[in-house]
Amino acid sequence: MTTAWAPITEPNATETPSLGQPAPRPAVPVTSDSALAEQYLEISMGPQHPSTHGVFRMNVVLDGERVIQLKPVFGYLHRNHEKIAETESYLGNMPYTDRLDYICSITNNWAYALAVEKLGGIEVPERAEYIRVITGELTRLQNHACLLGFLLQDMGASGTPLMYAFREREKVLDLFESLTGARMMCNYLRFGGCRVDLPAGWLDRAKAFLAEFPRFLDEFERLLVDNEILMERTQNVGVLSRELAVSSAISGPMARASGLNYDIRKADTYSIYSRFSFRVPLGHHGDVYDRYMIRFLEMHESVKILEQAMRDIPAGPIQNPAVKARLFRPKPGEAYGRIESPKGELGFYLISDGSGIPYRYRVRPPSLINLTVLEDLCLGRNVADVIAILGSVDIVMGEVDR
């Protein structure tokens, strides 16, 4: 019976790894070969891990609890969305965009619709623009609430903030169900407008929800924002500098927490966001606490936008009649359209060769690009922080792996 810690024997490198066997592991720096030598603990967090937000894996090399090397591994949820898009018509791709960032399906539709409208030069009637802003901001509310719940769940608050967040999210999903027919897979927007007009009484239900949403925000703030344990766990953890954020094109709340004033609703205004008065919160430290608070403050701003949008939504057509949804053939050319999705800058780059099927269909995934700096943020921190930092980046694997 071996008492000493017998390292699990390495599969010798010559034999090629069959599918069942794990691939030979990268050379782990071992200082010397004596039994008592200091060995690094190399663990793989994921793809089945309670807090990696989906099938995401990190090869982490630990010295004790400190992280020395962290290599993310993607591809477990890769469906080659872009290859499928090159066999579907423009309309046929719309339901697939729901499956990109499956938490905010309407903002995915919006980004795709915006790119196609730029490609085809299509105008969108007034009422449709207002409906798009209302549903887009509702999506942002439920995404941020959802994220704050998950982030706190990762840090150990056993389910309580997550349940409060999901209680509110259910109300938003009920609104989406009565409008689009499905809670998460809305497939609601079309090129040049929306598919269905607001059903009777929907706007009043939305206003009623909006009236008591701030109560949830205050409850959430009282519950945890001043909590010393949360402040200790998140302040000065995973600090992202503004230069690194710009250089690695970090977008969304994660960039604004580092002081980068770049909100696409303001910087590259699309749709009718210029009509609403709202503010963009900016953090100064760029750590996990700031990313948590920025999303928290952004929810307040979204509530303001929603109030203004719901107040002055005009009547009128919701679909540009000139656009035929089914046999839509844009002229040859290319277009890159982007919106401020709750996770960051979600862009679609379409190249059309004049046929009814896009020649090239590229999705700019904010989650994947925000993960570029994950290793820089986690080096030198310990395992508990890696989970908190990953939680604050807010990734959804449907969008990362496409």
Partner: protein, 391 residues
């Protein structure tokens, strides 16, 4: 022997002893004392698991288990049967003997701690004159069992969990003992029965519980914080931080051994809160002199249930501390406060009783608390942040 309902169990035991031949008298009396404890506390464990899931549910706006039995009452039974029928998988590379012994040792150590716990008026298993010392000695065996579990299952996550558990338990054992030294100084004896006797007297209708003295209240708070850490409960549940290292030291256990770990953990929690009740909340004594008609053991279990609800309430709210913060908190805040508390208790003992003594001690406690918390805050640069807004 005054009120029969209070001494009903003692009388019952003596009545049963009558039927036993005198030759085996000693063993029979020992068995008759141990058996109820071995039945009552696992039963309390079953009730607590249900209480915990219902309580957490209610905190999170949901119902909690209600499918098995009227209010989910048979849920603990269902969990027990499930853990019995689940397959017990032992990893191939595990060190089988040590792997098997770990949960057994954990539960044995937890049960040993009940020997000195005065559950009611002269209802204590063994009246050791060094009861508290015995309790802490047995309490430290738990760490050994935890490390055996972590080391022997040969898995990286369990290794991390075991390392964390050892560091946490040792660093919170010290403040736990120091917080109880204050009571021993005041009560003048290590025997748990004497400590409770001393607190059972009343002036007017108010009892002489130590928790009502300034140093006693601070000692109680420090003791409870250290007890939470000792039994790996919520803000300090790092050894089994589910979101980081999945289940810590008992990741490689399944089936009944997994249930044994839970039993051991909960028994440890009951034992430390039992000692907290004995030291600070006046053991089995009634809170008001007029209420002494209720039997003494009822008061003990009532206080135990309130403490359990406190644990559940804290578990439902607070996120988890990180490893180094947990250690800093123990060595830089709890330990100095416990030492300071001993100085205050000494001062309390030699000042003549009266209101002056009360205010002096209370003031002398609040000052270091503010100083230390400010010190800790500045060192960590924790502050409420302000955010600028771009138009």
């Amino acid at each position: 022997m005054t009120q029969t309902p209070d001494q009903v169990f003692v009388i019952l035991k003596h009545w049963l002893l009558g039927y036993v031949p005198t030759s085996v008298h000693a063993i029979a009396s020992a068995v008759l004392s141990i058996l109820p404890l071995m039945v009552v506390f696992p039963l309390l464990f079953a009730i607590t698991t249900l209480l915990e899931r219902k309580g957490l549910g209610r905190i999170q706006n949901r119902l909690g288990p209600n499918r098995t039995g009227p209010m989910g009452l048979w849920q603990p039974l269902a969990d027990g049967i499930k853990s019995l029928t689940k397959e017990d998988i032992v990893p191939f590379t595990a060190d089988h003997i040590v792997h098997f012994l770990a949960p057994v040792l954990l539960v044995v150590a937890a049960f040993l701690a009940y020997a000195v716990l005065p559950v009611g008026r002269n209802m204590v298993l063994v009246n050791l004159n060094a009861g508290v010392l015995f309790f802490f000695a047995v309490g430290s065996v738990v760490e050994l069992a935890v490390f055996m579990a972590g080391w022997s299952s040969r898995s990286k996550y369990s290794m991390l969990g075991a390392m964390r558990a050892i560091a946490q338990m040792i660093s919170y054992e010290v403040p736990l003992v120091l917080a109880s030294v204050v009571v021993i100084m005041q009560a003048g004896s290590l025997s748990t029965v004497d400590i409770v006797e001393r607190q059972a007297t009343y002036t007017g209708i108010f009892p002489h519980w130590y928790v009502f003295t300034p140093w006693g209240f601070l000692g109680f708070i420090l003791f409870m914080i250290a007890a939470t850490a000792e039994s790996n409960r919520s803000p300090f549940d790092l050894p089994e931080g589910e979101s980081e290292i999945i289940a810590g030291y008992y990741i490689e256990y399944s089936g009944f051994k997994f249930a044994l770990f839970f039993l051991g953990e909960y028994l440890g929690m009951f034992a430390t809160s039992g000692i907290a009740i004995t030291l600070f909340l006046g053991g089995w004594s009634a809170p008001l002199s007029v209420l002494t008609f209720i039997p003494s053991w009822a008061w003990f279990f009532l206080k135990l249930l309130t403490l359990i609800c406190m644990f559940i309430w804290v578990r439902g709210t607070l996120p988890r501390l990180r490893m180094d913060q947990l250690m800093n908190f123990a060595w830089e805040f709890i330990l100095p406060m416990a030492l300071f508390n001993m100085v205050i208790a000494g001062l309390w003992r030699f000042m003549n009783p009266g209101a002056v003594r009360w205010f002096v001690c209370a003031f002398l406690i609040l000052v270091p608390m503010f100083v230390l918390s400010a010190l800790l805050k500045r060192k960590k640069k924790l502050q409420l942040r302000t955010y600028s807004f771009a138009e």
